[in-house]
Structures are given as structure tokens and as C-alpha cells.
Symmetry: D2
Subunit: 156 residues, 4 copies
């Protein structure tokens, strides 16, 4: 079975996030990894497009029960119909989780991935977390390039 990597990020993303996501997708496909994503626009579309240009397999785990608004670069479509609860499914499906950019939905995926506890979670761009005393919450790996993101997963 191929390695599966979940890539999460906002629909409304910055140009930097988009280009990072595309490159993450391209690199993952180059390593033979299956990309798991949310299947819609923004970071989700960019990582899918990147992976497909490199001949990769992309699974879109949709919130809707049908295929409306799914991006065109998905190899396999899973229209869960469970709404935002699909975020749990995305993060459970990865041997690693790469977060590109920040939004509330993306933060929920970051948090759920860390809640899983036994999976590498890598953040490229996006938000920072401080604990009650203003110190960084431990356990996150911040990276600054797609290449570093793959390396930080520890999968290769």
C-alpha cells in the first residue's frame, strides 16, 4: 500500500499558500505518495493540481454528499455527506499531515491531527499557537518550504 499524506489548507488562501500547496503536491506525487485532501478550491485544488501534473493519485474527502464543487484534479472522490466532520477523516487518513496556510477550518484539522497523537504534523505558513503563559505550544514542526515540509514528515 502506498504512503498516504494528508494536505490541509484554506479555500481562500494567499498566492504563497497556493504555490506552496502545488509544489507539495508535485513533490509528494514524485515520491509515490497518495495525496489526501478536502477536494474543493484554494489549497485543496492547488495540491491536487500539483500532484496530478506529476502523475500522482489524489483522494478528495468532500464535506458534501455529492460531487458539486469538487476540483477537477481528483483521482478518487469520497463525498462523505458528514459536513465539517470530514476534517477528522482527512487527518485520520494520512501517514503524515501537512498544513499549508491558516483558517479556522484548517486550524481544526491541525488540532485534530495533533489530537491523534501518533502522526507527524508539519506546518508550512499559517498560524502560531501560544499556551496560557505565552510560550509556543509544543509538538508542532514549522517549516518554510515544500521541500522542508516533506523532510519534516520523517517518512523519507
Amino acid at each position: 500500500m502506498a504512503i498516504q499524506v494528508s494536505v490541509c489548507g484554506p479555500r481562500d488562501c494567499s498566492p504563497d499558500d497556493e504555490s506552496n500547496a502545488r509544489e507539495v503536491g508535485r513533490l509528494l506525487a514524485g515520491r509515490g505518495a497518495v495525496v489526501i485532501c478536502g477536494g474543493y478550491s484554494g489549497v485543496m485544488a492547488a495540491v491536487a493540481a500539483g500532484a496530478r501534473t506529476a502523475g500522482g493519485t489524489v483522494v478528495g474527502i468532500l464535506s458534501r454528499a455529492d460531487r458539486e464543487q469538487a476540483n477537477p484534479d481528483l483521482s478518487i472522490v469520497i463525498p462523505t455527506g458528514v459536513g465539517e466532520a470530514r476534517n477528522n477523516i482527512i487527518v485520520n487518513s494520512g501517514d503524515a499531515v501537512i498544513i499549508v496556510g491558516g483558517s479556522w477550518g484548517t486550524l481544526s484539522e491541525l488540532a485534530l491531527a495533533k489530537r491523534r497523537g501518533n502522526v507527524p504534523v508539519v506546518q508550512l505558513g499559517g498560524w502560531r499557537l501560544l499556551d496560557h503563559d505565552g510560550r509556543p505550544v509544543p509538538g508542532l514542526r514549522y517549516v518554510s518550504s515544500p521541500r522542508e515540509a516533506l523532510a519534516a514528515t520523517g517518512l523519507w
Copy 2:
């Protein structure tokens, strides 16, 4: 994107169900369809094994949040962690749904597939449904062989 066909059936299945499921998997893979299944034993394992022997792609939509007890013939594993609610996801993911054999879990998948309303649902073996007046509930297609099951989906 490839055609996706969901195949549902019990963990504890009869030898006939198992051999039917294996053949359904083999035939679907031969047509280039992606097989969606529940990813565990019984009918789920048989359809996966059949598809893999024919070089097909099999997606296992697991009830658990991890990969424990998943069968070894899955190409892609989706550990949903949503328990039996994963049945909805399985039936939402198919361009057609083929039911092999009968159990309460399988009946829930049949019912949810019919509830979707716009997808062919084909039954190979398994239970019969009568309405309050003892007449067959309309809308189901009963078939008696794997080959008929594929034909009855209307996809080819």
C-alpha cells in the same frame, strides 16, 4: 476520473456470497472501475481480493480511526473514525451500489443507498423487502450472478 462502484456485504458471509463478491471485484477491476468497500473481512475482503487479482484499485472506508483489522488488499485506506456512520460514506461514494448478501449492517447500506435516490442499487443474494401489504417494495434490482450485477448497474 474512473467510475467508482461501492460493494457492500456482511463480515460473516456465506461461501456463495464470498465467491460472488470476489467475482464482482474481478469484473469491476476488469472494467477499470474503482471498488469502494468497508475494508474489513467477509464480503469486503473478498471483493477487494478479487479486484486486486485483476490489477484494480480498492478503497477501504473503515469505521475505525486506525488501520487495525483492515484487509490486506486495499489500495487506499480511509480510517474514518466515525463508526457505523461510515456506511453513509460508502454508499455516497459509488456511481452504483452492489449489495452482496444480507445482514443488518448491509441492510442499512442498502437503505441508505436507496435513500440517496439517484443511484442504481443492485442486490445479489440477501434479504427481500415487503411493504405493509406484503408486496415487494419497489426500486430494487435483484440479480443472480456477478455478471448480471454489473449489467444491472447500467454503467456499461
Copy 3:
């Protein structure tokens, strides 16, 4: 903690189903049971109305993530946002499950309740199930009145 009884049935129900559901709700409230239902129209609205007229508590487990289309007789509203997967939650929440009438969605609840295995499931009206050899599938209790439905749960 009060006894909780889940009552399931179609949105588009017959006048008989509606009057049965209303009486089931009234009787359950009279016994001090909390009624769990799907929170929309048809059987769901009737059982809620019946329970409220008798001063009972009704929990509506909605498929939507908001309160749109919820019936006005709910005491507590749970807008799950998980779509039809909310059927699992309804049947998991009852110390017994009473099915009033038949539809595909209702059948999925009946099947999921039986799948749970350790909960009384009572059917008032609705569909019949036959196994592959034409014999009734065992494990269902068919009753013909609301009063019998409560008795058949074995809770009182």
C-alpha cells in the same frame, strides 16, 4: 437519568402513522421517558407534538448543521451537521427504538438499531423483511398499536 426512547419514521407518512406517532409520544411522556427523534416533519413532528402535549422532553437530532426546518415541539435541538449519519446517533441514543411506518431512511434506522444488537427494536406499521429463502428475518417485534409498542420495549 430518565429513560430515553428513540422514535423513527418517515417525513412523508400516512395519516395512520401520524396518529400512531402522536400517541406513542404522548404515552412515552406519560411514563417520564425522554423522546429522541429526527426533529423534522411527518412522524418526527407527530411524536414530538404528542410528547409535548403531555409535558414531555423531546430531543431533535437534526441532519443539518442549523435549525432550519426543525419542528416547533423540540425541547432540545442537536443540529449535527453530519447529514444522514445522524440516523446512527438517533438509534444509539435510545434505551429502545420504536419504528413507526416505512421509508428508506426509516429502514436504515431500523437496520442500524438491529446492528447495535443490545437494544429492543419495535415496529409499528412499516415494511417486512424476508431472508433469502422467503422466511421472516428474526429479531423484529411487530406490534399494532402505540400501547403495544411501549409494552414491547420491555422497559416498563
Copy 4:
């Protein structure tokens, strides 16, 4: 229908979080609000206990499909069986969401509540969020006492 307020927080919480949660529960019950919580230990148990001492109604939305490990102060138990996806259901069920303390699971609830977009989200203790440039992520209301938490919901 009564106002419903969701209260979220970690199983492993600090003594301050526990005493805050208990007082939040007591105050909410005093206002006639139904408390929605996760139904297990830590902050969930404390808010339930506080509400029950004041005669309030507490709904526990459990991750498990059964009642194991549920705390004893729940009035109504919803064993969803959908695992961590129950976090979505908790935050969808509140007219406001009060976060007490910090953990990854709690952060996912905070993020999902903000993702909803149209509900007041109040944080009492717990983690801080900074955007990519080190500025506080807008849209959160930090308070320092249970009384302020209720006021900050804007519901009364």
C-alpha cells in the same frame, strides 16, 4: 425552547479550569440555559456537576456509541458513535460556545466554533492564537472569570 450553551474543555484540566467550569455550569443553569458538553471527565464533568447542583439540564454528546465513561451528572446522553467528529456536533448545538482551558481536542472545538461563523465564542483560560505575522488572530473573546464568560456570550 431554552437557550443552549456549549462548554468545551480538556479531560486533563488544571484545578483552575475545573473550578471555572463548575462555576460556568452553575451560572448557566441559574439562567435557565441547557448545557451541552462532551460528557466525559475533566472540564466536561465539572461543568455538568456545576449545572446539576443548580438544577440545570445537561446534555452529554459522547464520542463513543455507548454510555461507558460518561459522567454521572448528565440529564440526557447522546452516544454518537462518531468519535472525535462529535466535536462538530457539540459546537453546532450551542447558541454560544464557551471554551475553558486548552488541549488539542479543545482547540479543534474552538476552531470549529469559529468556522461556524455566526456564534459567539468565548475563551476562559487556554491557548492564544497568533497569525503568520505574530498578531493575535481576530474574532476571539478572552475573559478571566466565569461571570465574564456568560456576559461575553451576549445572550443575556
